[in-house]
């Protein structure tokens, strides 16, 4: 008899526990519904303002870029850039013009926990970039440490290497802030690693459109962008509670 009672009690207790847990679940679910906010999904299209400014100020540079991203999930975005650049690299001994187009595609991950209603980003991402370009040496002067016979030989025989291509990867970190409704300003820097590039015969690429300046010492490249972009809204989707709200709730509970 006692044993039966005990068994009954245990079963009852477990059922109760389960019931309470279930009840807790339903409470949380309603809580989430109340706390959810709508998150904007859409195509964000923009341009790199730094390239426009540089085109206006720097005689040796012309460049234009269209960039875009699209929200896949709350924090993951598919992103890409397409552009065209012409850059003349000149020093005392060499003048070379690189000219061509590039395309970059990859993903951005937003690491920033927005306050309710805001849609800013601190993000990290990666890209695979490709460029098709040409490089033209317009003139050079022979380098010699002994200037007894100065000036050294100069040549302005143009040497064009066309049909060159390059492929690289990029790590990108940056921020994007919504300054007006659907209008975003951003800044980002890129660290690039060259995978493969066609080098001109008996010469080398000094600049690769999209990759920027190459360094003698290796495959590393760097870049930066100031982005101005506009979000073309497509649909809104409910957003999960943010961590902040959860923390706030915990504090209230305590």
């Amino acid at each position: 008899m006692t044993q039966r009672h005990t068994t009954f009690f245990i079963i009852n207790f477990l059922l109760c526990l389960c019931g309470t847990l279930q009840a807790q679940d339903t409470v949380d679910a309603t809580q989430i519904k109340q706390d959810t906010l709508k998150l904007q999904y859409g195509l964000r299209i923009g341009t790199d303002a730094s390239k426009l400014i540089r085109t206006a100020l720097d005689d040796d540079y012309t460049g234009f870029e269209i960039n875009g991203d699209y929200r896949l999930t709350e924090n993951w975005f598919i992103a890409g850039e397409i552009g065209n650049e012409e850059k003349t690299t000149t020093n005392d001994f060499l003048s070379v013009t690189a000219k061509g187009s590039y395309f970059k595609a990859g993903f951005d991950y937003n690491m920033y926990d927005n306050w309710a209603g805001l849609d800013n980003m601190i993000f990290a991402g990666f890209r695979i970039g490709a460029s098709a370009f040409s490089q033209t040496r317009t003139n050079y002067t022979v380098y010699s440490t002994d200037q007894y016979w100065a000036p050294q030989n100069s040549s302005s025989d143009s040497l064009e290497s066309s049909g060159l291509s390059a492929i690289w990867v990029e790590l990108i970190i940056g921020i994007k802030a919504e300054v007006l409704n659907n209008l975003y300003l951003g800044i980002n820097t890129q660290l690039k690693g060259m995978i493969t590039q066609d080098q001109p015969v008996e010469f080398e690429n000094l600049y690769v459109p999209g990759f920027n300046k190459t360094f003698d010492s290796g495959r590393i490249g760097v870049g930066y962008s100031y982005t101005v972009s506009y979000m073309i809204p497509i649909f809104k989707k409910k957003k999960n509670k943010t961590k902040k709200e959860e923390e706030e709730k915990k504090e209230v509970d305590n």
Binding site: L94, V142, Y143, S144, Q152, I173, Y224
Partner: protein, 172 residues
Amino acid sequence: MKHLKLYLLLITTLSFLTCERDDLCPETTPTTPSFVIDFYNNNAQDSRKNVVDIYVIGQDNEEVLTGYNLENVNQLILPLRTDQDITTFNITSNTVLDDDGNITSGNTDILTITYARKDVYVSRACGYKTTFENVVATIDGGTDGNWVIFNEAANDNLTIEDDTTTHYFFYH
């Protein structure tokens, strides 16, 4: 927000990396080579012999070549012209100059070096260097006769791509 400073720091660090760091040609990089001649004793052809009071000046050049203004040397390092296929030097031994810098005493030989030039890409900062192929040196003793009695190249079809080795041997 707590990570913001960290990100800003990262961005700043990356932007410093963009500073130009390879736009100066390092002195250690081999660029246009010079023509290297060793002087040997014509009577004992295995031993080096100094030229006393050497005086070297390029034709069509008003400056005496630095390092060869009345020096005693057993090696001559000559810069070659990169704008034409011939370079000529007047080389005087046992030179005596007057107060105006004119040669009053000594034996002058005319050294003519002919070659084919080839410009080779070095790097972004150093640009191009000139290398010399089919290099031939000839000596004309002039009216006062040769003091360089015999000369020979280090090898046939001499090519000068660097100046770490001797290219020609002069016996006197």
